[in-house]
């Protein structure tokens, strides 16, 4: 009998919601045509995802495509019945600004907790003010948007995760946003403009990932921050800073990161850290740091000093990655004897894995490798990958000679 065999219709509501939430929106809505029991099941799904994968519209005419899309979303939102926990809109054909405003207004009357909006084409989309009244927001992800909250905006009280990419917002807006979202645990910022000073005041922040152009970064109250990944996309330090004889950026950077565990210094960020006086060692060792990755120009004295200072101050490193900047190597002459100096003794008691890449086999690079090999008694593996195959053989010959503190260490040469 059909009643006997039909097991799926009698599954509990939240389970059916879960099944339907995983389906592309089209399939989910189509279930309303299956049988009497299924008519309204879809209308309770807590996740609504409208992206290019879920909705396919075949047409050459952009206007038709856009209109269809808008209609679909309108229909679904109207017929949906129940809380919308997660809303994602990321369709490449979506261009209607007023439509998006309308949908956000609709959502603001509910209790949406996760909101993802990706504007694929066109200028920065200015978010309507009703977005800032999403009280229950836990995760916010925006791509290609402009943020200008009303003056009365007091932050998202429940926000734990914020991901802003290709966004524009003013300096005060940024600072207020970060400091007023006191529960913030994860922050991702990529390619932003409108502000240049990254002032991060976030007591609960654990994860910080930034890539863009900025003048300054400062942490306040960030004692829980354990993972930091920073990339500065502009080469060449702002002259203003240098001439002001500013204090050591390196020192300032670490002063409020006592428990940092993973650090990635990408693009040209190391140049930023080289501003000001570079100490030979940090006043307080980063005892929790177990992973570091540095993009460095091995020919630059200041950058090498920064790297060296860092390595000396992190006794518990387990994994090191150093990436050369191949296009810069030839620019300045090789650095004489920086790492090779026997005074710099350092013990990496926990270092097990080292990755070196993008090098060309010149003096200071080899010195650095030698330094690492002779100071890591428990090293298990080091991989070396040159930037190009020129001089590869010479590199290998040098590597062969180096003394290793660890009898278990494997030095592996990878083809470029």
């Amino acid at each position: 009998m059909d009643m006997e065999l039909d097991r799926i219709s009698s599954l509990p509501g939240h389970v059916v919601d879960q099944i339907l939430s995983v389906l592309p929106i089209r399939d989910a809505v189509r279930t309303s045509n299956l049988s009497r029991k299924w008519r309204y099941k879809w209308s309770h799904i807590p996740h609504l995802v409208f992206d290019t994968q879920c909705i396919s519209i075949t047409s050459e005419d952009q206007t038709i495509v856009k209109n269809k899309l808008v209609n679909i979303i309108d229909h679904v939102l109207l017929l949906h019945n129940g809380p919308i926990y997660k809303f994602k809109l990321s369709h490449r054909d979506l261009l209607g600004v007023s439509d998006i405003d309308r949908w956000i207004l609709h959502l603001s009357r509910g209790s949406t907790k996760e909101f993802v909006l990706e504007i694929w084409k066109g200028q920065r989309y200015k978010l309507p003010s009703c977005l800032y009244s999403f009280e229950n927001l836990i995760h916010l992800e925006l791509f290609n948007c402009l943020l200008k909250p009303p003056l009365a905006f007091k932050g998202f009280r429940n926000l734990k995760s914020l991901d802003l990419q290709h966004v524009t917002l003013a300096q005060e807006v940024f600072e207020n946003l970060i400091s007023s979202c006191s529960l913030l645990e994860r922050l991702t910022l990529m390619n932003f403009d409108g502000f240049t000073h990254l002032k991060i005041n976030a007591p609960n922040l654990q994860f910080f990932d930034v890539g863009g152009i900025f003048d300054d970064v400062s942490f306040e109250n960030t004692f829980l921050l354990t993972l930091v990944s920073i990339g500065l996309y502009v080469n060449g330090i702002n002259d203003r800073n240098v001439s002001r004889g500013s204090s050591s950026k390196l020192l300032r950077f670490f002063v409020n990161l006592p428990h940092i565990r993973r650090l990635e210094i990408q693009s040209y960020f190391i140049k930023y850290l080289a501003i000001g006086k570079i100490p030979s060692r940090l006043p307080k060792s980063c005892v929790d740091l177990n992973y570091i990755s540095i993009r460095i120009n091995f020919n630059d004295l200041e950058e090498n000093s920064v790297a060296f200072c860092l390595l000396r101050s992190c006794p518990n490193l387990q994994e090191i990655e150093m990436l050369g900047r191949p296009e810069e190597q030839a620019a300045v002459g090789p650095l004489a004897d920086f790492w090779g100096d026997d005074h710099w003794k350092c013990l990496f008691g926990q270092l097990r894995l080292v990755k070196i890449a993008g090098i060309s086999g010149i003096g200071s690079e080899l010195d650095c490798i030698k330094f690492l090999l002779s100071n890591s008694p428990v090293l298990e593996q080091m991989t070396v990958k040159p930037a190009s195959s020129e001089g590869g053989w010479e590199l290998v010959k040098e590597l062969l000679r180096f003394r290793r503190a660890s009898i278990h260490a494997e030095v592996i040469y990878l083809e470029p």
Partner: protein, 297 residues
């Protein structure tokens, strides 16, 4: 299955928990396996039951002995702490292979035992079965009664409170129905070609021209590239400052995609949708439309 039910401590000092299914039969199970189920775990802690055959824990009705066996297999594997994610995933994929009826029973039972990871696994499996199928196919797979009349399938989804918005929708649907009827009169053949079942839903979803888009035509677009990890300037740094400009694509040139050196890092798409990419690429859009064409990022 259990034998002479005495609460004797076995020589190897393992402790067992006794479970009773709704049909009365009793099983014993290693303690660590049983504790993997939150519901059982709670029963043990709160009521102290389960230590002997006479005090076996009564399981919810939705759990029958054979399903219980499956669930315990799942628990037995996953409760071992040392396993890698890959191992677990491989096990899950093999584990989930069963007929649809059993899958539904398993989902229901896992839910009643509050075993969320298993509910997640089975829900995804059920979703995979539903995805891309026509209503008839789904009805057949799950033995659903086709109890909606043809008219009802076209009828708008009426709200009990008769919301004015729904009334508007009804009017729009009525208009659509009228159109369809007229089409019917003109060309019977054409109407038959459309799947009757799909019509109202297609109306719903493609209001303007009621075109019966095949769900299999969903194209997996390339994920928008947002750099997460490798923020290095191995890509050209010249475009660092021209982020704004790169956004402004001309609408009439969908294929405009200058040197794209973007790295292949995923945008944050929900991982669940990425499980079901078995679509054919019906509309081959140009491989472009990647708005995120910032070189230096």
């Amino acid at each position: 299955m259990s034998d002479a039910g005495m609460a004797v401590v076995k020589p190897e000092m393992k402790s067992y928990i006794w479970l009773q299914t709704a049909d009365g039969s009793i099983q014993q199970v290693e303690e660590e396996v049983a504790m993997f189920c939150p519901m059982i775990c709670r029963e043990i802690i709160q009521t102290g039951m389960g230590s002997s055959k006479n005090y076996a824990i009564s399981l919810p009705q939705r759990v029958n002995p054979s399903i219980l066996g499956l669930i315990l297999d799942y628990c037995r594997f996953h409760q071992v702490p040392g396993r890698s994610n890959k191992e677990r995933k491989t096990f899950d994929e093999k584990f989930i292979r069963m007929d649809t009826k059993r899958l539904c029973e398993l989902t229901s039972a896992a839910d009643s035992l509050q075993l969320k990871p298993l509910v997640d696994l089975t829900s995804r499996a059920l979703a995979r079965i539903i995805e891309g199928k026509t209503p008839e196919e789904i009805r057949e797979t799950f033995h659903l009664p086709d109890d909606l009349t043809e008219e009802e399938k076209l009828e708008p989804l009426r709200n009990i409170t008769d919301d004015p918005r729904i009334r508007l929708l009804n009017r729009l649907y009525a208009r659509k129905r009228k159109e369809l009827k007229e089409r019917e009169k003109l060309k019977d053949v054409e109407v038959e070609e459309e799947h009757a079942d799909d019509r109202s839903v297609e109306d719903l979803l493609s209001f303007i021209n009621g075109e019966d888009g095949d769900s299999k035509g969903c194209r997996t677009s390339k994920n928008k590239k947002k750099n997460r990890r490798r923020k290095d300037q191995s890509k050209d740094s010249s475009s660092n400052n021209s982020n704004e400009n790169q956004k402004k694509e001309s609408d009439t040139l969908p294929s405009a995609c200058p040197n794209d050196e973007v790295s292949d890092i995923l945008a944050a798409s929900p991982s669940r949708t990425s499980n079901f990419q078995d679509f054919d690429y019906a509309d081959i859009d140009d491989d472009d439309l990647d708005p995120c064409k910032d070189g230096g990022t």
